[in-house]
Amino acid sequence: MNPKLLSIIPKLVKLSLNQWWARRLLEQYKGINRSCQLILKDDGDETAIWVGVQDGEVKVKIGRYPATTTVTMDVDLFIDTIKGRVDFREALFHGAIEVESHDGHPWAYHGFLWAGFWDLVAQILR
């Protein structure tokens, strides 16, 4: 785990304690398995975090696992989006965040859903 991420642990704890977004995710993905491999890059180093909705549960794991999408960004950018300094959608549509699809849907399909999801996260962390 990249030590830079330590600075956002309070934010991540706040996020994990909020059950509202998890309930909303579970409601939306009832009967569907959706997962994201988040890759955070930092000078050749990378931190991989897997987040998914599987069998009616929201799960978070450290490491690389099969996922329906991969979202890759610089670790500093991730920290800035979590801290509310950068708008996720702005970074996405400026090409600073890469979204790959592994389930046959177009890139933009997942990009649109991620944009909506990140708005929720930003709302919780504000």
Partner: protein
């Protein structure tokens, strides 16, 4: 040339009789939402498809998809061209449109998005060509008309926008009548600049439906 004004008013007028979906395909510079408003809820996923949110226009609901829902105000789109086509594909093929007719506001000129969209929707689509009646726009019209023929998309009407502002309009009209499509003249008016005026589009509705 007035594509957004024509398409939003046409969709609004059509919504009196049909369930309408509206797509703003001007991916780089969406602005139909300035006339139609933005949905209050985001697009959600249901059964591996996006469900388009609705806007309320003149008391009637219209399904709506636009990059304006995803691109923050004042932010330019700086992604690779193939990703832009992916956005078009998502909005057309991976969105569950539950309506009788879809009206699409196309981007200017004959860019990739136009070609790609026509490939996805032809031959079921009809086109309305919106232009101003002066010589500068004739070559654009000829190119677009050629693309429509190539993609086997029916040209159902030509709208001559701001007809009253150009003294050569009748000559242009005569020239463009060789396309064989009905011509609808639309005069410039103060009211059309300030908001939707769907009742001015009754003639166009009669021609396209």
């Amino acid at each position: 040339m007035g594509k957004t004004t024509v398409s939003t008013n046409l969709a609004t007028k059509l919504s009196e009789k049909f369930r309408i979906g509206f797509i703003d395909l001007d991916i780089y510079g969406p602005n139909a939402h300035l006339l139609l408003g933005l949905p209050e809820v985001p697009a959600v996923e249901q059964g591996e498809m996006l469900v388009p949110p609705k806007v309320n226009v003149d008391g009637r609901e219209m399904q709506f998809m636009s990059m304006a829902m995803f691109l923050p105000e004042g932010v330019g789109l700086a992604i690779k061209a193939e990703f832009v086509l992916d956005i078009v594909k998502t909005i057309i093929q991976f969105t569950r449109w539950d309506c009788d007719l879809i009206v699409a506001d196309m981007p200017p000129g004959s860019l990739d998005v136009v070609n790609y969209t026509l490939d996805l929707v032809a031959p079921r689509a009809q086109a309305v060509l919106v232009t101003e009646p002066h010589r500068m726009s004739l070559s654009d019209c000829l190119r677009l008309y050629d693309i429509l023929r190539l993609k086997e998309v029916e040209l159902s009407a030509i709208v001559l926008n701001k007809y009253n502002l150009f003294k050569d309009a009748p000559a242009f009209e005569a020239e463009i009548s060789r396309f064989g499509a009905p011509i609808v003249k639309l005069d410039w008016s103060e009211e059309l600049q300030s908001g939707l005026q769907p009742d001015l589009f009754e003639e166009l509705v009669e021609v396209v439906v």
